[in-house]
């Protein structure tokens, strides 16, 4: 019964994606929406990404210094572990989990409200492919902006780590720099970006599905918003395991 429900949901999601990934009726309108979504979903998230990344970078650095650093460890270990954690997991996976809450609920409630107030019906009756018009710019907009968010997040996290060195005097900036530069593998940056592209697709498409298929009123919009955040978070975590295995 439960399996049949999940398969049914998956089928409906794939059918919606089939309707979404079609040629837009008017490219001019598509680009207008695409730019708007990049701004709304991506640019408007920069503040929270920078804030969280700065403090998490600082906290990771302090924790590493306090719990791992010992006379038996090299001086660079704190900087090295901070860099690896920020680059490999925080800036891609954890940040996308945070964005699943912010952006996912935003998308689900926006599209869900459009559904219950018949705005989507209005689009359909005009002869507009409502799925393509509403969802495609969100997916492509977030996928476009996500690599920049990942890079900003990593950079700000490292800045936070330097904050603990210069302001908190937890470790010396030279040791931190040494650790950050130690056996740096550029592929990890690409790995982080590739993972974030998959997560961006999940964050934008799953809440769009929940919003688009809402039936009823405001209570159902709220429920769809919650379901969207929970589902996209679980999907991010599951796909993170596979992607990490695949890309490492």
């Amino acid at each position: 019964m439960l399996l049949s429900k999940y398969l049914n949901t998956l089928g409906r999601y794939l059918m919606l994606m089939g309707r979404t990934f079609q040629k837009p009726e008017r490219m001019r309108m598509f680009f207008k929406e695409y730019i708007k979504e990049m701004s709304q979903l991506g640019v408007n998230s920069i503040g929270i990404v920078l804030l969280i990344s700065f403090f998490i970078g600082a906290v990771i650095c302090i924790q590493m210094k306090l719990n791992i650093q010992s006379p038996w460890m090299p001086r660079w270990v704190t900087g090295y572990t901070t860099r690896e954690i920020m680059l490999l997991e925080f800036s891609s996976s954890i940040m996308c989990l945070i964005l699943a809450g912010k952006v996912g609920s935003n998308i689900a409630s926006e599209i869900g409200t459009m559904r219950v107030t018949q705005q989507i019906d209005a689009l359909d009756i005009m002869g507009v492919n409502s799925a393509c018009y509403l969802i495609l710019p969100k997916i492509l907009g977030l996928i476009t902006i996500m690599p920049f968010l990942v890079i900003f997040s990593s950079a700000t996290g490292i800045l936070g780590a330097y904050g603990t060195a210069y302001i908190g005097h937890v470790l010396s900036p030279e040791d931190l720099t040494l650790g950050l530069q130690h056996t740096f593998n550029p592929w990890f940056v690409w790995m982080s970006i590739i993972k974030s592209l998959f997560f961006a697709f999940i964050i934008s498409s799953v809440p769009s599905y929940f919003g688009y298929t809402v039936e009823g009123g405001s209570v159902n919009v709220g429920k769809a918003s919650t379901d969207a955040v929970v589902s996209s978070s679980v999907l991010i975590l599951c796909s993170d395991v596979f992607l990490t295995q695949l890309l490492s």
Binding site: E25, R26, R28, M29, T113, T117, Q118, Q119, D121, A122, D124, I125, M126, G127, V128, N129
Partner: protein
């Protein structure tokens, strides 16, 4: 002209529409009336393709809408305009942008021409002064008028209105009725209005279809209602004592 033939619609084992046949002529305000839950909205959704009928035909000037491919349906929908009960304006767009939306999507006009056309439509509904406002900043009656302007922007051949007067005061309802009636005659379009409003029924109903428990119970002009002996229709139309007395008075004078 829109013609429906033997239209049936069921949801699982519940039959909501039972073998309805009717003709909606162009240049006339066609009204669908009936009690809540009688199947009016389901009938309209079948007409515009938001629902697929279980059996029967919907003919738009002889073209069978039910049998059309998805692409053909989309093309035909561009000849339709619809005014929803909630107006269904796009919240994130201004009044002018809402009216320009169908033009942006489907016309080959340049920006200036599109703005010009949208302003002409807004002028037709006396709302040019509100063009920069957002839907949330204007009244319900104004929202309905914007929805009318948006619906006529592409010169539709068919106009559908789902309870356009709901939530409006009698005076504003009258304005909306006059607008819809005027537009129907001016552009010679086929207008179908789904309504509960008795003022609309008596004021602009040129071809009224009364739906009772999913079946077509009565069809005629508003003038024929006074003389009708159909008990189900008269019980619905003259539900209040006041209306019953008015009817008796009118019949007494004659």
């Amino acid at each position: 002209m829109i013609e429906i033939k033997n239209l049936c619609k069921s949801f699982e084992d519940k039959q909501v529409l039972k073998d309805i046949s009717a003709v909606f002529e162009n240049g006339k305000t066609n009204l669908i009336i009936g009690q809540s839950g009688s199947g009016k909205t389901v009938l309209m959704k079948n007409l515009v393709g938001l629902l697929d009928p279980t059996s029967g035909e919907v003919l738009y000037d002889g073209r069978d809408f039910v049998a059309m491919s998805k692409k053909e349906k989309i093309m035909l929908r561009r000849e339709m305009g619809m005014i929803f009960q909630s107006a269904a304006l796009f919240d994130s767009q201004t009044v002018l942008e809402n009216v320009m939306f169908p033009l942006d999507m489907f016309s080959n006009m340049n920006l200036r021409e599109r703005q010009q056309r949208a302003r002409t439509c807004l002028d037709r509904v006396n709302l040019v002064e509100a063009e920069r406002k957002y839907p949330g900043e204007i009244s319900g009656g104004m929202q309905k008028r914007v929805a009318i302007a948006r619906a006529i922007a592409l010169n539709p051949k068919y106009l559908f209105c789902d309870e356009p007067n709901s939530g409006l005061d009698p005076k504003t309802s009258l304005v909306i009725d006059e607008l819809l009636h005027g537009i129907t005659q001016e552009f010679d379009i086929t207008t179908i209005i789904n309504t509960h409003d008795m003022n609309s029924v008596m004021g602009i109903g040129e071809n009224i279809i009364y739906i009772y428990e999913g079946q077509k119970e009565w069809q005629g002009h508003s003038k024929d209602i006074m003389e009708s002996t159909n008990r189900k229709l008269t019980d619905f139309i003259f539900a209040s004592d006041l209306l019953k007395q008015m009817r008796a008075a009118v019949r007494g004078k004659e």
